[in-house]
Symmetry: none
Subunit: 199 residues, 4 copies
């Protein structure tokens, strides 16, 4: 009946993440997580010292997933890499709704009262830097124009993923379903691409 230590921790962190997505950070009670895992409430304390540590583990898992998305494209062409990231985000959102999109927002909205926001901000900045690096790489490769406002471009792209998340969260599914978000992505890419890189 007892699971090996590492497994349980991971399993609990995953369950926690889903509960956060479903009920918010404040609604993530020990009882709810325990029930999802299939163990009794106090059993959680064998794996985490307290609720805060459990939430932290859940967020680590979440950010790990975000990072793995950022690293998911290995296309040597930087411009294409941006495109792939954009498409991958849009297409994977539905599948990752429970485990990534929803909890991501809940953590972001959990407010400055929890220390979680700070860590979120740190990671967001890292993601932004990643986009900036890719754009710079594209400029060196000659597929991205050298005269663009790099920061505006990076914020446009990362902002797009936020807006996709936000739209989905609010049930404004037409944004993705109608292809609007895709056309928006292509619009941004068209603005920054060199004429040579255009299809």
């Amino acid at each position: 009946m007892a699971k090996p230590r590492g497994d349980r921790r991971q399993q609990i962190a995953d369950a926690t993440l889903k509960i956060v997505g479903e009920y918010g950070v404040q609604g993530t009670t020990m009882a709810r997580v325990a029930q999802k895992v299939g163990i009794s409430g106090p059993a959680l304390y064998k794996h985490f010292a307290n609720r805060a540590e459990m939430l932290e583990a859940a967020m680590d898992l979440l950010l790990e997933r975000v990072v793995s998305w950022l690293d998911s494209s290995t296309n040597p062409n930087a411009l294409e890499r941006l495109r792939e990231l954009g498409y991958r985000h849009a297409s994977s959102m539905a599948a990752n709704y429970e485990g990534v999109v929803a909890p991501l927002f809940e953590f972001a909205a959990s407010g400055p009262r929890s220390h979680l926001t700070e860590q979120m901000a740190r990671r967001q900045r890292a993601a932004l830097q990643k986009f900036i690096d890719i754009i710079a790489e594209g400029q060196r490769q000659g597929t991205i124009r050298g005269d663009i406002d790099i920061e505006v471009a990076a914020w446009s792209l990362i902002g797009l993923t936020w807006v996709e998340n936000f739209a989905m969260l609010e049930g404004l599914n037409e944004f993705i379903a109608d292809g609007t978000s895709t056309r928006m992505l292509e619009g941004i890419l068209a603005t920054i691409a060199t004429p040579a890189a255009a299809p």
Copy 2:
């Protein structure tokens, strides 16, 4: 000493909104609201049937404020109206953080478990439509190009306000402070404006 009925309701709704921004929807307890208003606990039930209705009133107040922002510009030139809206959003965010930005996000993130999300979505769609209407008006006026993807344009503009909100919420203040968001707004407007409309 007793306030006229309408006033009290409004006062409670306002207090509720601030508490929502500060503590989240779930953290908005009757006790906290009551204390902020200066009355005592159960007295709230003289004005609202229950917590849900109180939250609803708070959200109505919030959306009313959003709408008043949408209607804040009366510039006859549609393109300029869009620009004004954008600038006004960026500049008023700091002042309206407690009363608009923060609670807006908290409501959005309050999840499908409350019925609040649906209403939020309805209003967001209305806002979107408003932008679409303004753009169409601009096209008739000849300041906005006729060949653009109207929906992409509207989503870009409304998405920008979301990203501004989100950035501020997460403490990524550089997005607004460094002028990145402003340049992004001008970039979007430049894309949709006719050559004639350019300065």
Copy 3:
């Protein structure tokens, strides 16, 4: 169903005191007190901010009772006053077991981990001083010898009450029942009384 404020507080403090005597400070749970009072657990929080304050009120009540015992004799003859106090203590112990003797010990034994011990010590010192004062008064009246060790006398008398309490607590009832404690009191008084004061 709801009682006036002051009454309830007193009633709860009294119940708390009895529970302390019966189950110890640590065993004094909110649930037990609530059940004794006949209300539900959380209702206690309408009268006390938390468990600590409730215990403090109980101790105040206890010390008030001890003080009222110390002031119970008004005999102008100091020596007789000491005798009366001694007799009154022995005879009232059984009746006051639940409400005074038992909780007194539990508070004393509650250890330095609670702040209660300090307050107990302060009161004990006050009680000791009271005895010293009475003895000095007796010396002025000529009923108590001037050459005695006042502090030893005071500690002997107050110690006797402690020993009576302790004996009762441990079920060594013969100490009081057989008259041993009374003979011990008379022995102490005989040692300090002047020949003139002897019967």
Copy 4:
């Protein structure tokens, strides 16, 4: 690495006793004892069937120590033996605070809800009898007067040790430090000694 059985039991009992002195009987949790011993929780059940038996073993150890104090003087002169016991108690209290004085009180105050009180009472009666025997021996030796109230004398002496304990527990250290308790002991001994036994 594994200790011989008896040792571990003794080691656990000793740890338990100290924890009792520090946190009270109710505060003596399996986890605390286990941590002090350096083993882990459930391992205690290899040595004791349950918490109650563990506490009983701790109390046995305590009473053993008390008895060894009672037998610590071998002076053939009974009066001197009483004096030595008294002095030894006062002087050893500080050193034995953790291991004897504090737990003794905690056990005594643990109330009739545990069966510990009864056993305590039995032992106290035995201690009392020991004092009575010594006094009787002194009477035969001619150092203690034959006309005294033996029980009052025995209770006075044993009561003094209780008061010393109590005073120390409550932080009324002046009782011992100022020599009051010593003078009180000498006073009692002076009352029961024959003129021939006086120095």
